[in-house]
């Protein structure tokens, strides 16, 4: 129980609440309910929350699954620095955003869900969690030429590497164990050029 990262769950909840807000807002504006301007607000708040919550933060231990295409929003969020890193700010922001949507029936569920998400963020903030962006790993280019070590010094047949390097090591299956040192040819090799 002690190692649970609440922020990840709060992130999922906030994303889902954002979607609920958007849907409720669409229903309210399209149906032209009374106070339909709350519906418009709800759509806007929902979109903002979705964009803010889309990039998943990095887990403390282990690898994190990225959401598809999240690296663009990660760049934007990184610009804001502590505003997006701190979960206290996020908790209160979500709480504040959720209140106006509570005035309309169609969006009231969005309010409830976002409020729950904000309380989980508060819990995460109290436990000292922070939003860490997932950095893309720099691709290592294999350098051609560095992998080719010294070419073999003896002509074939050659015993495998271990027999040449460490004569004391036990032989691998199928090794030709003639001698530990460099190959000694029984017959001197003469290059015959025809």
């Amino acid at each position: 129980m002690g190692q649970i990262e609440w922020a990840m769950w709060a992130n999922e909840q906030a994303l889902a609440s954002g979607l609920i807000l958007i849907m409720g807002g669409i229903v309210a504006t399209a149906g032209q309910f009374t106070k339909w301007y709350f519906g418009v607000y709800s759509i806007g708040a929902g979109v903002f929350v979705c964009l803010l919550e889309y990039p998943r933060g990095k887990r403390r231990k282990g690898s994190t699954m990225e959401r598809c295409g999240q690296k663009y929003m990660t760049k934007v969020l990184k610009l804001f620095g502590p505003l997006t890193r701190n979960y206290y700010i996020r908790a209160f922001l979500h709480l504040g955003l959720s209140v106006p949507a509570g005035f309309l029936l169609a969006t009231i569920l969005g309010t409830a869900c976002l409020a729950i998400a904000s309380s989980i963020y508060l819990l995460a903030a109290v436990r000292g969690e922070q939003w860490i962006p997932i950095e893309p790993k720099p691709k290592e280019r294999p350098q051609v030429g560095a992998t080719i070590k010294q070419p073999p010094s003896n002509p074939p047949p050659r015993p495998p590497a271990e027999a040449r390097k460490k004569p004391s090591e036990e032989e691998a299956a199928g090794a030709v164990g003639v001698s530990g040192g460099p190959q000694e040819n029984p017959v001197p090799v003469i290059d015959e050029v025809v």
């Binding site: 002690g2 649970i4 990840m8 909840q13 149906g31 569920l109 409830a112």
Partner: protein, 681 residues
């Protein structure tokens, strides 16, 4: 390669058929309910008041009824394990359906999610319509109490409204915690929130008892749309924009010539006022059965797992793997099944599933699991201490005190710090106590001593395995180390914990829940089986191999292809002994082709490696690099023409997908490959 229809049908056919049946049931229920509320005469007035929202909400409610009841069935794991093993489900095809229980559970869950959304949206519109279309004539039909009552009040002051909001919040918590990312990273959140299902079902029972939507009970005396001779005309009771407009039509002289009037369908005479009655909550009938079944199963599992197991030995294997061997009364398991471990002293709430690598047989009641040490529950810390401590705590008594003090003194003198060497040294010292087990039990007053032959304390250090075995029969008493000695050990955390737990009164307890079934049990029921394991995924097959070692004749299996892919050469040592012994046994019994072993080392640093000098049979079957599945399948198909081969895979998803695809493909030898897999989390 072309997909072979025969193979595809064998592999996927029944699964897709069941899905189709389930889908049609849902569509049928939705359609029936929709039509009923749209056109049924008993809902005529209600439909006029609420419109499309009524039909959508009731139709989605009936789909929700079905799915809320079906969703509980795939998670009755004990029941499924029983069905798998019993003869009640004779056909292998039907047994293979049980493999998909988790997928079915998720499908029902997603359906509940979607239709709850529809249901909630429709009811919100209904609430609005209730308040806007309020009329005095149908006051009892209306949930609102007066015209233009704030619909939010309707939501929060009625029983269905309040319970509905509660259910939405519970569902929201459950769904957000059930996403793949959360399950993979923080399984605890998923497990704890998913247990809120009980709250959901209780709220659901209350939700349908509200009786908010009523049907008309007296259709014969008051056909809808009829004319009340002395009052309002029921057809045009209200027009929303004009307020309530009543068409007063009075028939002079009362209802004369009733026959003519009743024959004319458009104008009927109402005998009496419409009476409305609440529907009987159908949901109770739908969900009570599965809910009782599931609760009964949980209760049974709770009672069954209440007795702790006795840990016989804890073995440490290379590459961070730990094996625990235990004994429990009346524990029976089939090869391939898994159990759930629960250790309250490590974590009061966490349960973790592990496949059995050794099942209890008639001759030997020991069973075991192999755990890979990752994460904080299995981590090199809590669980290992608990297991080792519970072993050690079995031996104690007055006489050991002296020995222990000696050990402590030796360590202090040597002033060893750090984990590895001290641990082994400590345990080496304690090993001598094993011989005193007899004397200890005499002290503790236990009469019967027995020592299982294969649990001789064996201190071979080959390959880094340190095997400590203890006969755990005695209760233990305090060792009485003084505080100063205890503090001196605090530098080495492991040793300190060990001693502290020995000093403490109660031995640590380990509880198991299970065994539960898995698709790997089927491998013994095919004539030819192909078992592919990736890394630690070899554990279900280890129990199969142990069973074959015990006795292979009673099973249908006649040829087993065992492919094991690992990254690290040391991993093969987990079961190298077992494989060699098995290979030897079949060689002696003149069935050398029964088990065909192929070991693959997928990551290599260029140096040829062998597993160990004494494992010659395995060294010659070790390949470097990844297996080439197509060639393997072709070879198996060629050697087993016309037969049905069961393919079992426990490993990474990439291997599993490749095998699944290959199982569906055509081969020129007429061999059928049946793919069996269960996904974990």
């Amino acid at each position: 390669m072309a997909v072979s229809w025969r193979n595809w049908l064998a592999n996927e056919g029944v699964k897709h058929l069941c899905l189709f049946i389930w889908l049609s049931l849902n569509v049928l229920l939705f359609w029936k309910a929709f039509l009923l509320y749209n056109q049924g005469p008993e809902y005529h007035y209600l439909h006029q008041m609420l419109g499309l929202g009524l039909c959508l909400s009731r139709a989605s409610a009936s789909v929700l009824n079905l799915n809320c009841s079906l969703i509980l069935l795939p998670v009755c794991r004990t029941l499924l394990a029983y069905l798998r093993g019993s003869q009640k489900v004779p056909s292998r095809r039907t047994r293979r359906l049980l493999d998909k229980s988790r997928t079915f559970h998720i499908t029902c869950g997603v359906t509940i999610c979607i239709f709850s959304g529809v249901h909630v949206a429709a009811h919100l519109v209904n609430a609005l319509n209730f308040s806007v279309n309020y009329s005095e004539d149908f006051a009892e039909l209306n949930a609102a109490r007066y015209r233009d009552e704030d619909p939010r009040k309707l939501l929060f002051t009625t029983v269905p409204g309040l319970t509905g909001v509660g259910m939405v919040l519970v569902l929201f918590l459950m769904i957000t915690a059930s996403t793949y990312a959360i399950r993979v990273s923080n399984y605890d959140i998923f497990w704890y929130t998913h247990n809120l299902f009980f709250v959901f079902y209780m709220l659901l029972m209350l939700h349908v008892s509200g009786g908010l939507l009523k049907y008309q009970a007296n259709l014969d005396t008051h056909p809808p749309g009829c004319i009340n001779p002395n009052g309002t005309h029921y057809q045009h009771v209200y027009l929303p924009d004009h307020g309530s407009e009543h068409f007063h039509e009075s028939f002079p002289g009362g209802p004369s010539k009733p026959d003519e009037l009743t024959q004319n369908r458009s104008v009927n005479i109402c005998m009496e006022e419409p009476r409305f009655q609440a529907n009987f909550p159908q949901t109770w009938l739908w969900i009570s059965g599965p809910l009782c079944l599931y609760c009964a199963e949980r209760l049974y599992r709770c009672i069954r797992s209440n007795k702790p197991v006795t840990i016989i030995s804890v073995i440490s294997h290379p590459s961070d793997v730990m094996e625990i061997r235990m004994i429990k009364e009346n524990f029976k398991a089939r090869p391939g099944q898994y159990i759930i471990l629960h250790c309250p002293s490590v974590s009061a709430l966490e349960n973790h599933p592990f496949t059995l690598t050794m099942c209890p047989t008639e001759t030997k009641a020991t069973f075991g699991v192999h755990l890979k040490i990752v994460g904080d529950w299995t981590g090199f810390g809590p669980l290992q201490e608990v297991c080792k401590a519970s072993e050690q705590s079995s031996e104690s008594g007055g006489v050991i005190m002296g020995e222990m003090r000696e050990s402590v003194k030796t360590l202090k003198q040597a002033n060893i710090c750090g984990q590895g060497p001290v641990k082994s040294a400590l345990l080496l010292e304690l090993r001598h106590e094993v011989e005193f087990a007899l004397y200890m039990s005499h002290l503790a007053g236990i009469t019967q001593i027995g020592k299982d032959k294969d649990q001789e304390a064996d201190m071979n250090k080959e390959g880094g395995s340190t095997i400590i075995t203890v006969d755990r029969r005695c209760t233990f008493r305090s060792l009485g180390l003084c505080t100063r000695e205890r503090e001196a050990l605090s530098e080495d955390r492991e040793a300190c914990l060990l001693f502290t737990s020995i000093i403490s009164r109660a031995p640590e307890k380990l509880y198991i829940d299970g065994p539960f079934g898995s698709p790997f049990e089927e491998s013994l029921n095919y004539e030819v089986s192909l078992c592919v394991a990736g890394g630690i995924g070899v554990t279900p097959f280890a129990s199969i191999l142990n069973t074959l070692l015990d006795d292979w004749k009673p099973y249908k299996l006649r040829r087993l292809y065992f492919i094991w892919v690992c990254r690290n050469i040391q991993s093969f040592r987990w079961f190298a002994d077992l494989l060699c012994v098995l290979h030897n046994k079949f060689w002696q019994e003149n069935r050398p082709d029964y088990v065909n072993i192929q070991l693959y080392l997928s990551q290599t640093d260029g140096i040829q490696k062998i597993i160990g000098e004494k494992y010659q049979a395995l060294n010659s079957r070790l390949f470097i690099g990844r297996p080439r599945w197509k060639l393997l399948f072709d070879e198996i198909a060629k050697c087993n023409r016309g037969k049905t081969v069961g393919v079992f895979c426990c490993g990474p998803n990439s291997i599993s997908k490749t095998l699944h695809k290959l199982s569906n493909q055509n081969n020129p030898y007429g061999t059928r490959f049946e793919y069996n897999k269960e996904s974990f989390s």
